[in-house]
Subunit: 375 residues, 2 copies
């Protein structure tokens, strides 16, 4: 795939530097929508699977054989470090993270000890090492990731995926000092988890604060922004770009940018031009094709992909992605075609000379990057 | 409760006219959080329950015995008119509306015949008549409601509550003319359902487009706004205020205002001052206390209630409400205290003289409107 992959396209866009073409990757690109993923992983526990370095390496690399994406993302789960320190969390298929005994108070929180990566997650470190070795010379960086304190706390305090987050919101307001201890411990775990991934070869990190958008801006600012800013500040020493992502965060974007990430990832609700105006000029933006649209026929997906590119415009600092993770029923051929279309037509951060150098392609979006896996 | 209830406080606020105190009601105030509701209704099918006029009257009036709310809302369900025209929809407890055979194509949509209120929903008409008779002289108007075309279509096309709305989004984009027929039929049903409620005595109507906020602004503008505007336009002849409500609609507010409602109801994500700036000066706003906050202790709820009132300010045109329906575990005493606090401290649309006429109350929020049901 040689010339399709500029070594630094993704990393440069994170830092709002010029690129030849808009970079692209897909949240959950390594996952259930790929038949080879289902074959390789079977039905076992996902947190257990994440402890097998060869399997993690295979699952992380699988999407790169199908899609001309500009970054790999480690196959893992935001609950991996929690399980590693003895938190009895399970991932229930079609449900999500479940704790039979949700965190109730200060004593439960005391048991969340610091993560010691070498001792606790040696298999993750080994997997990152194997993946980065496999990617060497291909110019595709690996993104490491972790759950942000608030989103991890949601699962720990609610005990299961919630639609209201009433328990965690109540904890914040009624026991702010307990909340602070919990958030600080989860921040330390996220920092240790991400640092270990970067030391082993990851070249960027994404902090998933998926449910932050369920908070009012006032609650986000008071209870979540400070601890998020601390995580991002500690990561700065690693000298890799940081991405802060959440769903439904339209009203939080200026606050999220003030937390100090290089990139803010947005869902499909906010047009990119609107997001840019709220984020300000110092933060790149990642997104934001509606993953549900990817279940529609190609003409629809192509039109919506073009709408995203148009909204992103030519200013630097756009990384194309979905607005949330790939849905399980997604046709991998559609995502392959999206990646190609983004490379053909995405102009965010491309200089005029580079834009002129890209040959015009037909409107069918299949372009010149056909690969065998496309149905 | 005599002097607590200004006859026109709610209706005047809908039209952005001066009021003595900020009016308040709660979405799903008639519902599962009330023990007397559970006793009266039992475990039967909710769509069946909605066909018993005496039961509907009792359930609609129950919250008025507990809360000093400024409006009643009919106990019903957005699927009532669909069931009435023969659509085999069921409400599954803890799940929501389910169709064993979701609407697949044009032939299914053909079967959605027009609603003929006198023949199809005589019990709803009788219930509205009974409720309005019971409210006579109490100065509390009844709000009628219906599901908006998009939100009803979500259930019909997905076959169950969805988190992605992938099928309905795909239908819009791939078969826009089929979508248009479906949306138009559901619009006609909503108009007929609401008109019947108004003719029987309802003095305002709320159109629930609960899931509109899951659409991109572009999709909302193209596929949902025109049919929503048509419904609101047809309702204008009824000469009652109209409220358009949805969750997660921050990016849609200007479009929703352009559909022509008197009031737009918002969830807790958008501060009211921000919402007002997007809605413009000609649309009132309803909301927006986070219903999850109502599960916290009173001091927290009081502080958050005050934050909403402060964000609403003194400009006319604010109706206090939750940002979504009352959660089942909510303590009714908390909602009673919220209503009282809003009346004591809510100044949206109040003239200076009226404001000065309101006696100062203690900060505990319990105020002078204690009623026996408060625990």
């Amino acid at each position: 795939m040689g010339d399709e992959h500029d070594p630094g396209r993704f990393l440069r866009a994170c830092r709002r530097q010029p690129v030849d073409r808009t970079p692209v990757w897909f949240m959950r690109q390594a996952g259930r929508s790929l038949p080879e993923y289902r074959r390789a992983r079977g039905n076992g526990d996902i947190l257990e699977a994440a402890t097998h370095p060869e399997l993690v390496t295979e699952l992380t690399l699988q999407p790169l054989r199908r899609y001309a994406v500009d970054a790999a993302i480690l196959f893992s789960d935001i609950m991996v470090p929690l399980r590693a320190i003895g938190c009895p969390v399970r991932i229930v298929p079609d449900v999500g993270p479940v704790l039979d005994h949700p965190l109730g108070g200060a004593a439960d929180i005391e048991r969340l000890r610091p993560l010691e990566p070498e001792a606790d997650i040696p298999s993750v470190i080994e997997a990152v090492t194997l993946v980065t070795r496999a990617l060497e010379g291909r110019g595709i960086p690996l993104i490491g990731f972790a759950g942000a304190p608030f989103t991890v706390a949601c699962y720990l305090v609610e005990g299961k995926p919630s639609r209201t987050f009433a328990r965690v919101k109540s904890l914040m307001h009624t026991e702010p000092s307990t909340w602070q201890i919990l958030a600080d411990r989860l921040a330390d775990i996220a920092c240790a988890f991400l640092s270990a991934q970067v030391r082993a070869g990851a070249r960027a990190v994404q902090l998933f604060d998926s449910w932050a958008g369920w908070l009012t801006p006032a609650d986000y600012e008071r209870f979540v922004l400070p601890v998020t800013a601390r995580v991002l500040s500690e990561l700065r020493a690693l000298d890799v770009p940081t991405i802060l992502f959440g769903v439904g965060t339209g009203e939080l974007l200026a606050l999220m940018a003030s937390a100090g990430p290089d990139v803010v990832g947005i869902d499909w609700r906010v047009p990119i031009d609107v997001a840019r105006s709220r984020l300000g000029a110092n933060t790149a933006v990642q997104g934001n094709l509606d993953p549900a649209i990817c279940l529609a026929p190609w003409e629809v997906v192509a039109a919506e992909t073009r709408r995203v590119l148009q909204s992103a415009g030519t200013a630097p600092g756009h990384i194309f992605n979905l607005g949330h993770g790939v849905l399980p029923d997604t046709d991998p051929g559609i995502l392959a075609a999206v990646a190609d279309l983004v490379h053909q037509e995405g102009r965010s951060g491309a200089s005029v000379a580079e834009r002129d150098g890209i040959p015009a392609e037909g409107p069918d979006g299949a372009g010149g990057h056909q690969r065998e896996a496309r149905p």
